[in-house]
């Protein structure tokens, strides 16, 4: 077995213990819960418009998704442009 594989197996115990702790803690304390206003509020949106153009190519990366992927992290704020109201 490779070094990487052995290390992964050795980490199984600590990772399992930590994972179980957090899973049970959250089940009891529900610190991760909040009102899902994005889904549960009545929103009427006009068709989304926009633009896109190719700017670069990535070759031979080992990352399975774009770095900093935040498409599903709606509440994670990014730089707010100055022309805001």
């Amino acid at each position: 077995m490779s070094d990487d594989g052995s290390l992964a197996l050795l980490l199984l115990g600590p990772a399992g213990a930590t994972g179980l702790y957090w899973m049970l803690y959250r089940h009891y304390r529900n610190t991760d819960k909040s009102h899902a206003f994005e889904h549960e509020t009545a929103v009427e949106a006009k068709p989304v418009t926009g633009s896109e153009h190719k700017v670069d190519e990535v070759k031979g990366t080992r990352e399975s998704s774009i770095r900093g992927n935040n498409v599903g992290a709606y509440r994670q704020r990014v730089q707010r442009r100055q022309d805001d109201s």
């Binding site: 490779s2 990487d4 197996l9 050795l10 199984l12 115990g13 600590p14 399992g16 213990a17 930590t18 179980l20 702790y21 049970l24 803690y25 009891y28 304390r29 529900n30 610190t31 819960k33 009102h35 206003f37 994005e38 549960e40 509020t41 009545a42 929103v43 009427e44 949106a45 006009k46 989304v48 418009t49 926009g50 633009s51 896109e52 153009h53 190719k54 700017v55 670069d56 190519e57 990535v58 070759k59 031979g60 990366t61 080992r62 990352e63 399975s64 998704s65 774009i66 770095r67 992927n69 935040n70 498409v71 709606y74 509440r75 990014v78 730089q79 707010r80 442009r81 805001d84 109201s85």
Partner: protein
């Protein structure tokens, strides 16, 4: 002597300098400087119309007494499990007016412009007091109501019932109230069921002292906001063009090729009845110091069914007072509108199978409408002693839908022991695999 009219004197030059009218403070509503000479953003703000107010006050209840429309008695209660009021003298029942129809709050979202504030959501006066006194029209006695936590009181001499129905400037009287539908027995059953599923690792003292019968009905203050906004987001997205493996055996690794796109999206949208906590304490969702996120989780409510303010709905129910004004809540509203916009554009970027990294966003709020509302919550609380005053745990039940969420304090040593046991078993299996 000639009758000819003397010529009128030439107009005086404009007076300026010390002692001139320019030194006199401007009249209310006037600006000392001509706004036309100022930069556009400042000029726009100065000349913008004042927020429009929708008058939701109940003038017919101004004296505090809510009379039965049939017999005139003042002993009026909320009929549990419904939106009806009932007269305890003649048993007459009637329904409060829904604010959606009464004040047209459900329409016109597409045309919202500026900031429209209902009269119960206006700024809290700096000199406001908690105590309100009424002169009993039955016997002349003074009846005092503490608006901090209650809205009705009974004259202890002649049993006349009073309610704070006038929209006082201390944030205690909202525009609307959503009556309780879930009864106490139902709330107790839901709380018991919630805790029954969390027995094994619950704090021993919590289990010993658990008495869901102590649950209390509370009206919590919220701002219900309608809004019309536009948002823009910009960033980069990637589409996978190739996937291949290099190496062999255990060294086999996967590599990806992708095209990178600059992506921009724009969305115009309206939101209807977005609830925001208008109490600074309840609006603080820092889970390291409190469990208010539990109460937030039981949102939303069917706010379309809220009725015009009438203190009789609050008889025997405690209430919390609003201490946040519209201006305080605007940053949170903008934050939530941006999150909603980000959710709205997700489908339009589904072709970027390696995801999108949004880097910039902007928001233009065209119009908002703010209504202050009391929403019904059943609250069971348990104080866990500890550092910095300990932690107050809540189990909350939505007083309309019955949605239940809670925070149950954990017995740490039990939780750690369970985690270590499972970790040890997994590690033993891993070592056995490595040894063989």
């Amino acid at each position: 002597m000639s009758n000819a009219k003397p010529p009128s004197p030439p107009p005086l030059p404009p007076v300026s300098g010390p002692g001139s009218p320019r030194d006199v403070p401007p009249l209310p509503g006037q600006f000392p400087i001509d706004p036309a000479t100022l930069p556009k953003p400042i000029r726009d703000e100065l000349t913008a119309p004042d927020p429009v107010a929708i008058d939701t006050s109940a003038k017919e209840l101004k004296d505090g007494a809510n009379h039965c429309p049939k017999c005139g008695a003042t002993d009026i209660r909320h009929k549990h499990g419904s939106d009806l009021l009932v007269c305890l003298f003649c048993r007459n029942e009637w329904q409060g007016a829904r604010v959606e129809e009464e004040f047209g709050l459900g329409s016109g979202l597409d045309e919202l412009s500026g900031t429209i504030i209902a009269s119960g959501a206006k700024d809290i006066a700096a000199d406001s007091a908690h105590l309100m006194s009424f002169k009993c029209s039955g016997c002349g006695a003074e009846v005092t109501v503490n608006t901090e936590n209650q809205m009705t009181a009974r004259c202890h001499w002649c049993r006349h019932v009073f309610g704070v129905n006038e929209q006082v400037a201390n944030g205690a009287v909202p525009d609307a109230v959503l009556p309780f539908h879930i009864k106490k027995d139902d709330a107790i059953a839901r709380i018991r069921q919630f805790v029954d599923k969390r027995q094994m690792f619950a704090l021993k003292a919590f289990k010993e002292q658990f008495t869901p019968e102590n649950v209390s009905a509370v009206y919590l203050p919220y701002m219900i906001v309608d809004g019309r906004a536009s948002a823009d987001v910009a960033g980069q997205g990637e589409i996978e063009t190739a996937r291949y493996t290099r190496g062999s055996g255990n060294d086999k690794k996967t590599y990806y090729d992708a095209d990178v796109y600059a992506v921009q999206r724009h969305v115009d949208f309206t939101v209807d009845d977005l609830p925001l906590e208008s109490s600074s304490e309840r609006g603080n969702h820092d889970t390291s110091v409190n469990t208010n996120n539990i109460i937030n989780t039981i949102l939303p409510f069917d706010t379309k069914n809220a009725v015009k303010w009438n203190a009789s709905y609050l008889h025997g129910v405690s209430s919390e007072k609003r201490d946040r004004d519209v201006a305080h809540l605007k940053p949170r509203l903008e934050d939530q509108l941006l999150s909603i916009a980000r959710h709205q554009v997700v489908e339009s970027v589904s072709r970027y199978d390696r995801g999108v990294r949004w880097e910039q966003e902007s928001l233009d709020v065209h119009g908002t409408r703010w209504v202050s509302m009391y929403l019904p919550v059943w609250l069971y609380s348990y104080h866990q002693p500890g550092k910095n005053g300990g932690m107050l745990h809540y189990i909350a039940v939505n007083g309309r839908t019955g949605e239940t969420m809670g925070s149950v304090p954990v017995q740490q040593w039990k939780l750690i022991l369970a985690a270590l046991t499972v970790g040890t078993i997994l590690e033993s299996i891993a070592l056995w695999i490595l040894a063989n």
